[in-house]
């Protein structure tokens, strides 16, 4: 039998370790990477002519980052690596890719999807102003390009990334004006029992907070965003600051020239959806996720998920999950696999699951805020759909779930296909109809997963 073709989508921690495991077993996996350089988002590399050391780029994770980069360099002769390549559709048993306007069809025997995650967004009035970024975007600007989003940034949201990015900015010489966290101290304590399964990470987080406090960065907990303010001059749309409420309900204003917003991460699941994998509602993160077993096998034969694309567990877990999914894939392809190794990885992932539980409990997505957003708040920025539009779909137009609302008022219909607004839009719909969030559904995925150039060459079969 010819060597089976295994495609790995993504070249972050999960994709890299999956590819490595497959290559070690004698296969030559195809590795598709949307980025120009391997590393994923967390270990994103700087351009070749930049020279900051790893310790500066990745801080406490420098060793992991360097190890992953090095492992990948060694892997290059043994894999079919395709950078700047978008996996955008499925046609029968072929994956469709696009690279510099060239479309290719890749037949495959198995696929490991390690597509990662994006920031999870809860809109607030003003969040579409120039100068507002996601936390991930703010971090990438710094990591990849050594740029900051502003000279006096405010970071708002919740989750570990909130403190990490603020700390990275501080270290880069840009002192944040404030860190505004929607999770209260009390809520965070509830997450502690899960978070302490990874004491080193927990200690890191506490250190970031301590460093921020010591340098006089105000950290506020249990806040409610009111709005991102723009300059009073009508022609200047840039950010002027953030108005928010304290945990006790007092109105406050913090001046700043840029805002980074993020409420944890959400998994990228479109490819799994296009491959018709079963999804189930995950009450912990209040979103629909592809169903996998502990090794990452989905309901579809030969399709595996690894890394944050299967549920947010972070980079270390992603490395183990990538390896485990690859071993499972090899076993399913009839290749010999050391059971001990499998057990070892499964064991390594157990505390990661507890940690994930701690994160979602300690830094929860503030879904209740959706119900109180003013009608004029833009939710879907691609299509300029407001909270009021979604409520009109929910009420007078009687859309029972989010795809119907999409048909009526265009929420989630634009460039990002609801990847940014889908969760908040669904919360607004559920609140307006007074139904449980799982009954409000999830936006169905469609090709192309991301915008596809109309000028395409290559196959014309």
């Amino acid at each position: 039998m010819d060597k089976p073709v295994v495609i790995v989508v993504g070249a972050g921690p999960a994709g890299t370790r999956a590819a490595q495991t497959l290559a070690q077993a004698g296969l030559r996996p195809v590795v598709l990477d949307e980025n120009r350089l391997q590393g994923g988002q967390i270990y994103r590399r700087q351009p070749e002519n930049f020279s900051r050391p790893a310790s500066k780029l990745y801080g406490a994770s420098a060793r992991s980052a360097t190890a992953l980069h090095t492992a990948f360099e060694a892997l290059l002769p043994h894999i079919d690596y395709r950078p700047e390549t978008l996996a955008w559709g499925i046609s029968s048993n072929q994956l469709l890719t696009e690279h510099h306007q060239h479309v290719e069809t890749l037949p495959f025997d198995a696929m490991i999807i390690a597509a990662g995650a994006t920031d999870r967004i809860m809109p607030c009035p003003g969040w579409t102003l120039p100068g507002v970024f996601t936390l991930g975007g703010a971090q990438i600007a710094l990591k990849a390009q050594a740029c900051t989003i502003g000279a006096a940034p405010i970071f708002m949201g919740t989750g570990p990334l909130l403190y990490l990015v603020a700390w990275q900015y501080l270290r880069a010489g840009v002192k944040p004006r404030a860190v505004l966290d929607t999770s209260s101290f009390k809520t965070r304590m509830k997450g502690l029992s899960g978070l302490r399964h990874r004491p080193a990470i927990l200690a890191q987080g506490i250190r970031y907070m301590a460093d921020l406090l010591r340098t006089g960065v105000p950290l506020h907990a249990g806040i409610t965003p009111v709005r991102v303010e723009k300059q009073e001059n009508d022609t200047d749309l840039r950010v002027r600051g953030v108005t928010w409420r304290t945990a006790r309900g007092q109105l406050r204003h913090t001046e700043g020239d840029a805002v980074g917003i993020g409420y944890g991460l959400r998994s990228e699941t479109q490819l799994a959806d296009l491959l018709k994998c079963d999804f189930a509602f995950d009450a912990l993160s209040r979103q629909w996720l592809p169903v996998t077993d502990e090794d990452g096998a989905t309901s579809q034969k030969g399709i595996y998920l690894a890394g944050d694309g299967a549920g947010i567990r972070g980079a270390d877990a992603a490395e183990s999950a990538g390896e485990l999914a690859a071993l499972r894939c090899l076993a399913d392809l009839g290749r010999p696999v050391a059971q001990k190794e499998v057990e070892c990885l499964r064991d390594a992932l157990k505390p990661m699951n507890a940690f994930r539980h701690g994160l979602e409990t300690g830094f929860p997505w503030p879904w209740k805020n959706a119900a109180d957003l003013p009608d004029e708040t833009v939710i879907c920025r691609c299509e300029n759909v407001t909270a009021g539009d979604i409520r009109r779909a929910a009420g007078p137009l009687d859309a029972p779930e989010v795809n119907r609302a999409k048909a009526f008022v265009r929420v989630g219909m634009g460039r990002c296909q609801g990847r940014m607004c889908g969760l908040a839009g669904t919360e607004i719909l559920a609140a307006a109809r007074n139904i449980p969030i799982e009954e409000a559904g999830r936006i169905r995925s469609a090709a192309p997963v991301k915008p596809l150039p109309a000028k395409i060459r290559g196959i014309m079969t």
Binding site: W88, G89, I90, S91, S92, L96, V103, T105, E383, L397, D398, P400, R404, A407, F408, R410, M413, G414, R415, Q417, A446, A447, P448, P451, L452, P453, A454, K455, I456, I459, M460, T461
Partner: protein
Amino acid sequence: MSQPVTPTTARADVIIVGGGLMGAATAFFSRQRGLSVILLERDLVGQYASGTNFGNVRRQGRFLPQLPLANRSRVIWGRLPELIGEDVEFLPSGHVRVAFKQQDSARLEQYAQDCKPYGLELELYSGRKAVERFPMLSPDVDCASFSPLDGHANPRLAAPAFGRAARRAGATVLEGAEVTNITRTSEDFVVETAKSQRFTAPLLQISSGAWAQKMAAAFGENLPFTPKAPQMGVTEPVPYRIQPVIGYASWVEEEGVYLRQVKRGNIIFGGGQRGTVDLVAKRARLDPLNTVRQMPHLERILPDFARLRVIRTWAGIEGYTEDDLPVMGPSARIPGLYYAFGFCGHGFQLGPGVGATMADLLATGQTEIPLAPFSIARFAQPSAQ
């Protein structure tokens, strides 16, 4: 759209099975004629072909004997916001068919002559004049046929708007009402649903699109019928510049693409090869390779198309007959039974006219619109009679 109280049993003058545009419009116009109406929709009103089609409000190029129906429909499209109280984004911005080959141009010229007696006036532009009149077109266009009063509308809004209007007018519109059994007593049709609801009426209309064949067959009126999935897509928004709908007049299936720009700026496109359908799973199988195949033909019509990016694609579930014409009118076998289905991918424009015409039939047994070419009798097998 489910009503607060779901009747478990009810009687009306007419039961309409299928809440696509045809069923919803028939419900609305039947109420206008004073009939009591129960509309049963298995899922959501306008969810399948009616909500996923291209949105063409096009008369030119149609089968000529269908033009009286299309003309009637066009008049209703023009009255829509007042008539149903909701805007469905109808833009009477014209429709252009372009030909690149002389033999195709000759067909456009012939059609422009032939449709005149039906009251459809087209403008023809040849060679350079086509690009002068429509500067967005490729300079290679050999002939452009312009129908100034045609246009386009938003299919996602049209059928649900008719459904709501029908309800406001007093129709019982039930969503999530899957019909499982239809029987006929001496005076009534008895329609049962999966939720054990039971409805009766002396008149029954079947307008369940791609799923209608089975229901017609149950009444002894089977026909060759193929569900297909036309494929659509949409680009990112760009400034609104292209008013008319533009279609590629070719008799090669793969070349037959079309596009329209909505005021929001996105360009919606469709055409070419159709995908397959799973009627049981109620899913159209969208093949992204068909999207790739559409691109060069779209660029051939509109060179600037190549500078855009496609952000989304979708497919619908449509029913096709063997002669590419719908089944519309009374049953040839069962008194009181009416059909309006199988519109072969060109039903959207006809929808309002179909509703008004079917309401004529349901209320009076006759209509001024000639429907003979669409009778289900044309499929009758002599042996089955």
